[in-house]
């Protein structure tokens, strides 16, 4: 069977965190948080607004330094080698990171090149999210859902074992949501890991739930 780039066999990785706490603007957002992910695993972050889902994703990506606790990748501390950590993750945040004057395929080609991916990976990634008819359209003409699909197409344009997704299905219609779920399923089959924060019901088979409110700081009486 032919393998597309993102299904290249990923060796047996694991990603875990222990005793994580995060402080934003002087306020403790969560504390005492542990998680563990094996190859092919998925973690679904849920919780009310402000419970720290995005903060946890930023901590996992190495953008924010946790105020306590540590992350480990296959047993090695992530904080010791952040550049290597960045090379193995994809982060899709709230913002789509698109430039109005660049075309859809230029945008995807750029992000693939940033991660050492090949230009040849762009058309299949566009096809996966049904973006081929828009390939030569500047991004300023895209709708909100199309922008989101382009941001998500970055995931499959260059391989990385860990996907960190912040509300990935926002603005997506049913077809696009199933495209996203299919991409996630293929990624996990190949041994990739996914951490997704969501309000919507994102049906990820066998995903471990992580309710952020369980790690809210205990208030001093």
């Amino acid at each position: 069977m032919a393998h597309s780039p993102e299904t290249s066999p990923l060796s047996r990785f694991s990603f875990s965190g222990s005793g994580l706490a995060c402080r934003r603007g002087g306020r403790l957002v969560f504390q005492g948080l542990d998680f563990a992910l094996e190859a092919g695993g998925a973690l679904l972050l849920t919780g009310p607004n402000g419970s720290g889902k995005s903060s946890l994703l930023r901590v996992m990506a190495g953008l924010t330094t946790p105020s306590a606790g540590s992350l480990a990748w296959s047993g090695a501390a992530v904080a010791e080698d952040l550049p290597a950590h960045r090379a193995r993750l994809h982060f899709v945040g709230h913002l789509d990171a698109l430039k109005p004057v660049l075309t859809v395929s230029e945008t995807l080609g750029f992000w693939a090149a940033m991660r050492g991916g090949a230009r040849a990976a762009v058309p299949p990634a566009l096809a996966r999210f049904h973006l081929e008819p828009l390939a030569d359209l500047p991004c300023r003409f895209l709708s909100a859902g199309q922008r989101r699909r382009l941001a998500l197409a970055r995931l499959v344009a260059s391989p990385a074992p860990l996907w960190l997704l912040d509300e990935p299905s926002t603005g997506l219609d049913e077809v696009s949501t199933s495209d996203l779920l299919a991409a996630i399923a293929r990624h996990r089959e190949a041994g990739g890991m996914v951490v997704a924060a969501t309000h919507a019901d994102l049906p990820l088979a066998g995903a471990a739930p992580l309710a952020m409110q369980d790690f809210a700081p205990r208030r001093a009486a």
Binding site: A61, G62, L63, T64, T65, P83, R86, A87, L89, F91, G93, H94, L95, D96, A97, L98, K99, V101, L102, E106, F110, W111, A113, M114, R115, G116
Partner: protein
């Protein structure tokens, strides 16, 4: 290296398609210089005497015009965060953006300078030193400016703050840039002045990206 070039290529493409920034900088440079004969009177001796200073001061101000947008747009649309999460280090990213900034604003200034100097009746011996000094000096302006742009990222009225922060740091480039031209007109060797400009550039090349990357890191926390 390919990621570095991808950033340069993207920024050049953005600058060429949006078109406004580079053209604006050169237009400001030309207009501001043209104002001087109106202000100080049309005597050729007087204009020739102040030509080098006027061209240099105006070039500094013109270079400042585009600086506040160096990281601002990428910061607002999420591109900066996404770029910070690619394997390319932030220091290399800053260097790539400085290179693109210099190619789109510094280089046009260098090319326009001799024409404007002719308008101000600069003596014949001064042209080559003017171009050489600006060729060595303007990359330093982009590099030092990047530190200011990174520090003021997200601040209100960032443009004004940026000028206050960066203009004092431009003084050494101004002094030695103007002196090189004046010395050439007086028939004295310009090598010492060009050497100091080159030394300033060589110091800024590693230090400015380090400082700017540290500022970006804290802006993205």
């Amino acid at each position: 290296m390919s990621a570095f070039l991808a950033v340069v290529q993207r920024d050049l493409r953005l600058a060429l398609r949006q078109g406004s920034d580079a053209a604006l900088v050169v237009a400001f440079f030309v207009l501001a210089v043209v104002l001087f004969p109106f202000g100080v009177g049309p005597e050729p001796q007087l204009l020739a005497r102040i030509a080098a200073g006027v061209v240099w001061v105006t070039a500094l101000l013109a270079a400042l015009l585009s600086l506040d947008r160096l990281f601002q747009l990428d910061y607002e649309d999420g591109s900066l965060e996404a770029l910070a999460l690619t394997p390319l280090s932030l220091e290399a990213l800053v260097l790539a953006k400085c290179l693109a900034h210099w190619l789109t604003t510094g280089l046009p200034l260098v090319l326009a300078a001799p024409v404007l100097a002719a308008l101000l009746q600069l003596e014949g011996e001064g042209y080559l030193p003017l171009v050489l000094a600006m060729g060595l000096g303007t990359p330093s302006l982009s590099l030092v400016g990047a530190v200011g742009a990174a520090l003021t990222l997200g601040a209100r009225r960032a443009g004004v703050l940026l000028s206050l922060l960066v203009l004092p740091l431009y003084i050494p480039v101004l002094i030695f840039g103007v002196a090189a031209v004046d010395q050439a007109v007086a028939g004295i060797s310009i090598l010492p002045h060009l050497s100091i400009l080159a030394a300033f550039l060589l110091a800024a090349l590693p230090l400015a990206p380090l400082a700017a990357a540290a500022a970006l890191r804290s802006a993205l926390e």
